[in-house]
Amino acid sequence: METWKQSKAVFWTLATPGTLWLAIFFVAPLAIIWGLSFAEKTSIVDTEITGTLSNYIRALGTPVYLKIIWKSIWISALATLMCLIIAFPIAFVVAFAPDKWKPILLMAVILPFWINLLIRTYALISVFRTRGFVNFGLEWLWDGANSILAFIGLGPAVLGAFEPLQMLYNNFAVIAGLVYVYMPFMVLPLYATIERLDKSFLEASLDLGASQARTFWSVVFPLTMPGIVSGIILVFIPCLGSFLTPDLLGGTNATMIGNVIERQFKAANDWPFGAALSFLLMYATFGALALRSLFAGRKSGMEV
């Protein structure tokens, strides 16, 4: 590695295009939004930046919006937790699989991630619908159970009519959808950390008398914490800002921040308010990242 001064010309040639692009087409737009968050609507189409905090106050003060913010947080948290619980065993199995299986298994986990978010969410609709596959399957089992009970003489249709589960357009659907969509995001960092873990630690723990469960909690979990934190952040933040999944799967019952923001910029045309909400989301993102680097800094001695 050289210092930039050693070949200034090359340095600036390489540095300028990318930096300029981000500055103009990323930072500037974000700055505009930031400014907008302090603006007021002066007419149907005009806004003026007055430095007001009314948008933020409305976002955090009004019960309606506070409720939505709160709901977004707990839905995201729940989805993240479920991702963690499901992803960990998968990451574990792949990390301990024979070498020739690892790339195949990883590919299998990552592939859905490459498929369009929209399509994956849409695919879930046909699964969760009232007249969708899960309900079809359950109905089939239900009827089957009915038949068996009738057969042994308990009378016809003892279990009554099948009530299809309402799995769409509610919180359940949104959480399931988020888990379905973001699961691969959790598996990868977990896999990376578990893979790098010295297997002797587990063997030593077992050798010293700990059970598999105890080995997991006392040795594996603490030593893979950096990966766990990475995974949590990689899932929680997109969940928090998700808009498509609650839109398609949640209906009106499960609105999240993302939906409200979208409405402000499209239908409701209240850009300042939408900007304030967007920036609240950004602050949350930065907060989570800051927490993560704080955490990483403290435990740096543990980096295996």
């Binding site: 063997e203 030593a204 010293l208 008398g209 700990a210």
Partner: protein
């Protein structure tokens, strides 16, 4: 002697088509310092791990203290292991590491403290009890691993290449310490090593392994002076290996036509015929400027190479016949090195009783 503490019975471990361990059977006695010695890939570490329960044998049985371990996972075996990388838990202090094995098996809190202190005292780490592993040197971490294993009072302590990561001086020191430790604690130690010096100096008995099989098990001096196979003779120590054919007997001795050395007679017990290997250790060979007399096997040659080790010198002498033999010369005086130079003509001689006849 009562029953062996560890019995390996026809144990095999196959990884696909590779036979890492191929039908091994032997016993290890109580309170023995036992070594598994061999080149890399010979199966010694796999065998050790099977005793620990970290690998499952493909065939055969491992019996520890009279109990077949087939259904016993590693956390329930009366053995403990010191890993090659030490595997000291980085997220726990030294104390917590040593206490770990006691905590997870439900030892009462009141008992853990004193036992941990004792164990740390045994490896001279008492003052470092509250330190984090990343603040320790390699040698210190190894002691933590030792204390952690010994505090559990296992019947057998397994050590996987314990000295390979240490530098020469530390290695010597640890060799002595481990020997003393074993005698003090009074349990069986099984170590795995590829370093024959380690094995020879520390072990009571050594099993030499090659290609998944045990070639010879014996005490160090027996292995050195009476190897049973060419492989063992070559693997342990430096050696001169000559090919030969038995051509007859001469009184109590066997006459052998040695390749490029000529006809020699060698004392040998038992039968000998056909193609044989002759083993002569370099330190049994004497170099002289004048022709020696007496009952010796001798040959004249030129010094063609010379490796200096400070306390000894290894001289390579090439005979007219083309045969090269090496002799170890002790630098007993400060002028010894001046005695022979590369290019000098010397007489090389050794006693017939210092020649070992091997049947392959």
């Amino acid at each position: 002697m009562d029953q062996p503490i560890v019995s390996i019975e026809n144990v095999a471990k196959h990884f696909g088509t590779v036979k890492a361990v191929d039908d091994v059977t032997f016993d290890i006695q109580q309170n023995e310092f036992f070594a598994l010695l061999g080149p890399s890939g010979c199966g010694k570490t796999t065998l050790l791990r099977m005793i620990a329960g970290l690998e499952v044998p493909t065939g055969g049985a491992i019996v520890i203290d009279g109990q077949d371990m087939a259904a016993t996972p590693p956390n329930h075996r009366p053995v403990n292991m010191v890993f090659q990388s030490y595997a000291v838990f980085p997220h726990m202090t030294v104390e917590e590491n040593v206490a770990y094995g006691l905590k997870v098996t439900g030892t009462p809190r009141s008992e853990i403290g004193p036992r941990v202190t004792d164990a740390l005292g045994m490896v001279q780490l008492a003052e470092l009890a509250k330190r984090n592993p990343d603040q320790l040197s390699g040698g210190q971490r190894q002691r933590v691993a030792l204390a952690r294993a010994l505090v559990k009072r296992p019947k057998v302590l397994l050590l996987d290449e314990p000295l390979s990561a240490l530098d020469a001086k530390l290695r010597e020191q640890m060799q002595l310490e481990l020997s003393h430790l074993q005698q003090r604690v009074g349990i069986t130690f099984i170590i795995v090593t590829h370093d024959q010096d380690e094995a020879l100096s520390m072990a009571d008995r050594i099993a030499v392994m090659n290609d998944g099989r045990v070639t010879q098990i014996a005490a160090p001096d027996t292995l050195y002076e009476n190897p049973t196979t060419r492989f063992v003779a070559d693997f342990i120590g430096k050696v001169n290996l000559l090919d030969g054919r038995v051509v007859g007997t001469e009184g109590e001795r066997v006459a052998v036509e040695a390749d490029r050395l000529g006809r020699i007679t060698v004392p040998h017990e038992g039968d000998a015929s056909g193609d044989v290997s002759l083993v002569v250790r370099p330190e049994k060979i004497t170099l002289a400027n004048t022709e020696p007399d007496g009952d010796v096997i001798k040959s004249q040659g030129k010094v063609t190479d010379w490796a200096y080790y400070g306390d000894t010198s290894h001289m390579f002498v090439t005979m007219d016949s083309g045969l090269v033999m090496s002799a170890k010369v002790q630098n007993t005086t400060r002028e010894t090195v001046d005695n022979f130079d590369v290019g000098d003509t010397v007489w090389l001689s050794f006693s017939p009783s210092d020649v070992l006849l091997l049947r392959e």
